[in-house]
Amino acid sequence: MSEGKYSHLEKVRAMVEACYRCGDCRIAYRPAVGRYQVCPVREAVPAKWEPFFARGKIMLIMGLLYGDLQLSQELADIIYQCTICGSCKFICNYSYHPSLPHPLSQKMDHPKIWEALRAELVEAGFPLPKHAQMLAYCQENYNPYFEPHAERLKWIPKGKTFPKEADYVLFMGCTEPYRIPEILQNTIRILDIAKVNYTILAEEEWCCGSVALRTGDRKIAENMAKHNLEALKKTKATHLITHCAGCYRTLKFDYPDLLPEFNIQVLHITELIKDLIAEGALQLKKQISRKITYHDPCHLGRHAQIYEAPRYILNHIPGIDLVEMQRIKENAWCCGAGGGVKSGFPDLALQIAKTRIQEALDTGADAIVTACPFCLRNLQDAAKELEGDQTIEVLDLLDLLLQAL
């Protein structure tokens, strides 16, 4: 027995011991509710051993808790091959009907279990080396992209200024300023058109801590969160908005957990835009005659249940024909990038994304639209790889929206 040896796992012990190993998390099909398979990693890896889906990982944790197994680098190499997409949570005794709130499905939180295990691995000195390098850099320079902190604001168009205080703070994140600045540029154009009173934290913004949390380094995440909260207080903002789904999940759900005094309202940009359209502050007038499909980012969908706001926006763009993929919302297939997989196992991330791109192609759409920079990049990489037979454009939702304004 290892009673008390693993402080993070002890917090999720009740969930781990509740798993009765039915194995629905392996390959369940429930056509009546749109569920086709469960674990994107299991389906992508060549040898589909038990630890490559939820039941096996839970068994490993039981092995640690009962003293049968020990933490090691070999274990880390298995455990980090998981995107923490949460698909397993939504098959585990999940009824799909509000009249049947199965007690176990209410209690189980698989992403939380996987993150607890990763926290143990990191504290025991077994992070994935690539993650460790990334986080070491992040600690010094506040971003995981090996970029100078000073360049975080390079994306800002010349002449654009931001007030010191505002109702809303636009949280930039790391991926967009350093890798896809157009998204932020589009975001501020939309906010300006709608006359939203907003500002940014500018050079005071650090990485939100998502990368650290997902890969198991809670201390770094906590430092980032504390700093960002202090910066936020200075703006006197009541709302925090972000386009990045990873930042959104972290700010909305992890910050209140890490910092009990954090009480600012967090909105994803699609939630705000939906309201702005409904209020008439954004008028979508231009016709865009395209057949598109929408990819639910895991951090926005399963982690935060934001399924309708992006679809509301797309359905309000004149001329857009939104066709759904076979697997959507809580059943959506992950893009493959999350949970540190893109940095730790890039081939695996790409393999999973190719499956999703194929699913989008099967709809006959000419573009797959998403609302997460991480999904966007990984799906774009996969679309490039698949080019030749069929092509599909991978677009950020705001790209389309701006065309319609």
């Binding site: 027995m1 009740a14 011991e17 509740a18 009765y20 190993r21 039915c22 194995g23 629905d24 392996r26 390959i27 369940a28 099909y29 429930r30 056509p31 009546a32 509710v33 086709y36 060549p46 040898a47 589909k48 051993w49 038990e50 630890p51 039941r55 096996g56 068994m59 490993l60 092995g63 009962y66 049968d68 197994l69 070999e74 274990l75 298995i78 585990c92 005794n93 009824s95 799909y96 009907h97 509000p98 009249s99 049947l100 709130p101 199965h102 007690p103 176990l104 499905s105 209410q106 209690k107």
Partner: protein, 500 residues
């Protein structure tokens, strides 16, 4: 690297065999709560020929082999109790042919019942009995090894073995045979379970994996009727005799297209309702027994007639309809419409969330189910002190009883009986003792277990359920097929040399 490992690598290639401690650990348990043993190797064969080579090698090296499908069994059937090789059969999951003209499907046995039926639904067909209640994860091979039922269609089609038209089996010494009509070299398409002579398909059905490794199955498929109705009733009187009366009358008056029929004792419903949150909100304040049916038909008129006849029988046995929608308490509509007909039993296992179930589920004739439930009450009284001790030490409520009672073909019901307990290692021995005693009492009350695995197959021997002549007959067959006892040793107390 051991010689066995090296040989396995040569047979299946380096990627599909492992001796990694972490991976092996995850194959040390199935869905029962207490039995666990590490395999030495896990292999994922891709073809029957690979399975055959593995078995030949295992005979040479005297290494135990245990086949594993979805790993969803409740009787530790796929736990490698004597170590050795676990054959993870889930790599072999192709649908080889859906033959509409002959109304059969040929599949590799590692496919799940849900995946298979997903494809059949597209063509307007299904397998009738949808396999076990764990059919979203359980595979065809496991269902046939356990003669499973509970995954939908039990009332109309009985258990899944009934629909077998033939098998491809790798015998324990490595020979590959086809049973049924394909035993003839001159038959091109399978059409009959019986080959020339005895029912050799039956030798491998419900065998709990001791006679061979099933690699392909040919199953009868049925047209899925387009018209479906389902109703749920509260029974005003708690006495189980009303449930018995309804089931018997439904069956003896012709069945009325009944696809599934389930009875829920009042205390089971109260238990579901006492959970946080209540498992089924419309039943929260029901506090009564309930019963539901689903019925299928090929025309609207036939469906209406079925419903009228089924309803009349329930109504005269104190039944009160709960309304048409899932939100009204009509669980039948949920089961047939939304859950794919697989998850009902399975989900009741996870209901307590802090405890796990050790199940004693079995078949018995309809009229005997109140007696079986009474056995569980006697068991609870007999072990009240032990159950109280676990509860006091953990603060977690534990208990026993009968969950749902489902029609399971012929004049049988399937009883979801068992007990929930805390699975901490310190309670392992106590839990095993309690489980064995409950099995013993249910066996001696005259019930018939089907999913035997390691646990019940041994308990049957301990309970002296078999006559000496019958047990010797079983032993003789096993000896002919598997002289070294390498396949699933330990079940039915058939051991490899060197084990007790």
């Amino acid at each position: 690297m051991t010689a066995v490992y090296e040989k396995l690598r040569k047979i299946v290639g380096p990627d599909l065999v492992t001796n990694d401690e972490y991976i092996r650990y995850t194959y040390s348990k199935t869905a029962d709560a207490v039995y666990q043993h590490m395999p030495d190797y896990v292999v994922r064969p891709k073809t029957p020929e690979e399975v055959a080579e593995i078995l030949r090698m295992a005979n040479q090296e005297k290494v135990p082999v245990v086949p594993r499908g979805g790993g969803a069994g409740l009787m530790a059937g796929a736990v490698p109790h004597r170590g050795g090789i676990v054959l993870d059969m889930t790599e072999m999951r192709k649908i080889i042919e859906i033959n509409i003209e002959d109304q059969v499907v040929t599949v590799e046995c590692g496919i799940t019942w849900a995946e298979l039926n997903k494809e059949l639904y597209k063509k307007g067909f299904y397998t009738g009995c949808l396999g076990p209640g764990s059919g979203m994860s359980a595979v065809v091979g496991g269902g046939l090894s356990h003669n499973s039922v509970g995954g939908g269609g039990g009332a109309k089609y009985g258990s899944c073995c009934k629909h077998v038209v033939g098998l491809e089996v790798v015998l324990p010494q490595g020979d590959i045979i086809n049973t049924g009509s394909l035993c003839s070299k001159y038959v091109e398409h399978p059409f009959s379970r019986y080959g020339f002579g005895a029912d050799y398909s039956g030798l491998f059905l419900g065998d709990n994996g001791i006679h061979g490794v099933k690699t392909k199955a040919i199953l009868r498929i049925y047209t899925k009727p387009p018209y479906v109705a389902g109703k749920t009733f509260m029974l005003k009187r708690g006495n189980m005799k009303y449930g018995v009366n309804i089931f018997l009358e439904w069956l003896t008056k012709g069945g009325f297209g009944i696809y599934d029929g389930f009875y829920f004792p009042d205390y089971f419903i109260m238990g579901l309702s006492a959970m946080t949150p209540p498992t089924y909100l419309p039943w929260k304040d029901l506090n009564k027994a309930a019963i539901f049916y689903t019925t299928e038909a090929f025309s609207e008129k036939e469906l209406e007639a079925n419903v009228e006849s089924l309803d009349a029988i329930v109504l005269k046995n104190t039944g009160v309809p709960l309304g048409p929608e899932i939100e009204d308490g009509n669980l039948a509509k949920y089961q047939y419409g939304m859950d794919g007909n697989w998850s009902f039993y399975q989900n009741t296992f996870g209901v307590p969330a802090r405890t796990q179930s050790l199940t004693t589920e079995a078949h018995c004739p309809v009229q005997l189910f109140p007696k079986m439930v009474n056995v569980i009450d006697k068991w609870s009284a007999k072990h009240a002190a032990e159950l109280t001790k676990i509860q006091q030490m953990t603060g977690i409520p534990v208990g026993a009883g009968c969950g749902s009672v489902g029609l399971a073909g012929e004049n049988n019901v399937e009883l979801a009986i068992g007990f929930t307990t805390v699975i901490k290692p310190e309670f392992r021995d106590l839990n095993i003792a309690l489980w064995k005693d409950q099995l013993d009492m249910v066996i001696k009350a005259g019930a018939m277990h089907y999913m035997l695995g390691y646990v019940t197959s041994r308990q049957l021997v301990e309970a002296e359920a078999f006559t000496d002549q019958y047990y010797n007959f079983m032993k003789g067959i096993k000896k002919i097929l598997d002289p070294n006892n390498i396949l699933s040793p330990g079940k039915f107390m058939f051991e490899m040399e060197g084990y007790k």
